[in-house]
């Protein structure tokens, strides 16, 4: 190193830090198995980047959350791709983290001197699942709203603490504005902070205690750079490429905006909660608590207690058959439950009683390009379009959209007849002397009729 370079490094320590990072002793065998943690770390970085972009355009209020996500999907360049990537990477993080856990479990790497890092890893998994649960609600569509409703109800079940826990999560008596702002704050503030701290400790502990390597692997170690670093980078880049392709070809879905009054909606959890969801079908009545809280808690407890239960020095899977079997039963059960849920559920939701709800009428706006009115009866759809074109929302408020110069258009059917509405269109002042509304007597009768249909259909 040149004299200048050396002096520069004394101040910065960068070269020394890189040397320590690159030269860290890493197992010479089993390298591809050991890329899972790095891939998870990369994906969390992808989530941070895409999450930041989404947050620059997202509004966490029930009035605007859905519209802002729809805006991201439809208007913002690369918006659908960024959201798709965030959604697919969320699933991938769960998969990769679980594979990482299974790998460490199988290789017995949770034993001394690494048992603390096993616990940190389990906490990281809980943080990842909390990310998934809170993120699901944020678009405020039917899927997120109803899945969250069910999720919070499950969390409210345990005796004594349950009711309070549910109230804390909701921020009120029902899932609403406070729930959305709470979930948003947890998702973008609290969990990233927890993740950053836990992941840092996880990595520092990995470096301090050393990588366990394959069980019984006595081969000499080699530096982290270049072989293992290259493996980690290639695995990360490949997974990223797959996710990008998935996001492009299978974009994230955005269902109709959340409608708390729609009782026909069948909520389904995201796939990683499917085994828990399926358990609900076997434990009913008083036993339900066992399925929703008891079994998941038992699995978590088993995983946390594992380093204390399996205390023998050996890490070879052959010598740890009972533990491998116990872990295998848990993993297999989860897989089978997921499989059953995937096969059964589409059939269940095809019950004739369950029809897709019509999109709420709220979505008439001056910018109709965003909204699909085709699901409505033709006259109502046409009337809605006319209401937007005739710029009625310049004065009137329709479900939160528009202005307040005129009266808010709601519950019209309760107060007015079709004849009254038609007469009022033609000569407003005749029926309401103080109205400032201009007459619409030059419109064809059919237009006026369709607009009346729309107004009468408003909630």
């Amino acid at each position: 190193m040149s004299e200048n370079g050396r002096r520069g490094d004394e101040a910065l320590g960068a070269i020394e830090a890189w040397r320590r990072f690159a030269g860290h002793p890493t197992p010479a065998r089993g390298g591809w198995w050991f890329t899972l943690g790095s891939v998870a770390l990369t994906l969390l970085g992808v989530q941070f980047a895409t999450g930041f972009l989404l947050l620059t355009a997202y509004a966490p209020t029930p009035d605007h959350a859905w519209a802002s996500v729809a805006w991201i999907e439809r208007k913002i360049p690369a918006g659908a791709l960024v959201r798709g990537l965030h959604s697919w990477a969320a699933s991938a993080v769960v998969v990769v983290a679980l594979l990482h856990l299974a790998r460490v479990f199988y290789h017995g790497a949770y034993k001394r001197p690494r048992k603390e890092n096993w616990w940190i890893g389990l906490l990281l998994l809980l943080v990842i699942l909390a990310f998934a649960f809170t993120g699901y609600l944020l678009p405020w569509d039917q899927k997120g709203y109803w899945a969250t409703l069910v999720g919070i109800r499950i969390a409210s079940q345990p005796p004594i603490v349950g009711a309070e826990m549910g109230r804390l999560l909701r921020g009120g008596a029902t899932v609403g504005a406070s729930t959305l702002t709470r979930f948003a704050a947890i998702h973008v503030f609290l969990l990233p902070l927890a993740l950053l701290i836990l992941a840092s400790v996880h990595l520092i502990l990995l470096r301090r205690r050393g990588h366990a390597g394959l069980p019984g692997d006595e081969t000499p170690r080699e530096p982290f750079f270049p072989k293992q670093l290259a493996r980690d980078a290639v695995a990360s880049a490949a997974v990223f490429a797959v996710l990008l392709a998935l996001a492009y070809f299978f974009p994230a879905r955005l269902e109709a905006a959340a409608d708390p009054s729609d009782t026909s909606y069948v909520p389904r959890p995201e796939w990683y909660f499917l085994p828990l969801f399926q358990l609900l079908h076997y434990f009913r009545g008083k036993a339900m608590l066992l399925g929703t809280i008891g079994i998941p808690a038992a699995v978590a407890l088993f995983l946390f207690a594992l380093p204390l239960l399996d205390r023998s020095a050996t890490r070879t899977p052959r010598a740890r058959r009972p533990w491998i079997a116990a872990g295998g039963v848990v993993a297999l059960s989860a897989l089978i439950l997921t499989g059953i849920a995937m096969i059964e559920e589409p059939r269940r939701s095809r019950l004739p009683a369950v029809e897709p709800p019509p999109p709420p009428l709220a979505f008439v706006s001056p910018d109709l390009k965003n909204y699909d009115l085709s699901a409505f009866p033709p006259s109502i759809a046409r009337g809605g379009r006319l209401i937007a074109e005739k710029r009625c929302l310049e004065c009137h408020l329709v479900n939160g959209d528009g202005n307040t110069k005129g009266i808010e258009l709601k519950h019209v059917a309760d107060r007015r007849t079709r004849a009254w509405i038609l007469a009022h269109f033609k000569d407003p002042q005749e029926l309401s002397p103080h109205s400032k509304m201009p007459p619409y007597d030059d419109l064809p009768e059919r237009d006026l009729n369709d607009m009346a249909d729309y107004l009468l259909a408003l909630p």
Binding site: G23, A59, P226, A233, A237, F240, D367, N403
Partner: protein, 162 residues
């Protein structure tokens, strides 16, 4: 630190370093490109349509007439209602729409019938009826807004919404 293993020769070492750097560059590059499009791309917000300000007959006189453009324009995921004061001025056979915003620092100008000038109350900017600067600090004439006449009705397109 441990000794370099002999099987990782310097060529192979360089190759692996390149592979690692290339993989990292691919992820960072793709995310960077997405971010550039997401944050910097054209969000294609539709322009607000022309706003009706009244029949041509209302603007027959020689003095500028004040009109209020009331319209809504897309503002991100929502639409915002706006009001904008403009002046409609007859210039020979045609009508001109002038923004009321002073080009100096953005105050609203008023028509002063006695001096036949637009006066800005803030820093004494003066404009003639056609919008050209007559005195004071304004660096440019009042902005002209697109105007259309359809079926005897005057429509003005708010520029700020374009």
């Amino acid at each position: 630190m441990i000794a370099e293993k002999p099987d990782v020769g310097s060529n192979r070492r360089r190759f692996l370093a390149l592979v690692a750097a290339g993989s990292a560059a691919w992820i960072a590059g793709a995310l960077g490109a997405l971010a550039a499009r997401f944050l910097g791309g054209d969000r294609a917000e539709s322009a607000s349509p022309a706003v009706l300000v009244g029949p041509v007959a209302a603007y027959a006189g020689p003095s500028p007439v004040e009109a209020l453009l009331s319209y809504s324009r897309p503002d991100g995921y929502r639409s915002e209602s706006r009001r904008e004061r403009v002046f409609i001025v007859r210039r020979g056979e045609s009508l001109v729409a002038l923004s009321s915003t002073c080009t100096h620092l953005g105050c609203s100008v008023r028509w002063d019938g006695s001096s036949n000038l637009f006066l800005c109350p803030c820093h004494g900017g003066k404009y003639r009826a056609d919008g050209s600067v007559a005195g004071g600090p304004p660096p440019a004439p009042l902005e002209r807004l697109p105007i259309e006449i359809r079926g005897g009705q005057v429509f003005v397109r708010p520029v700020s919404a374009a």
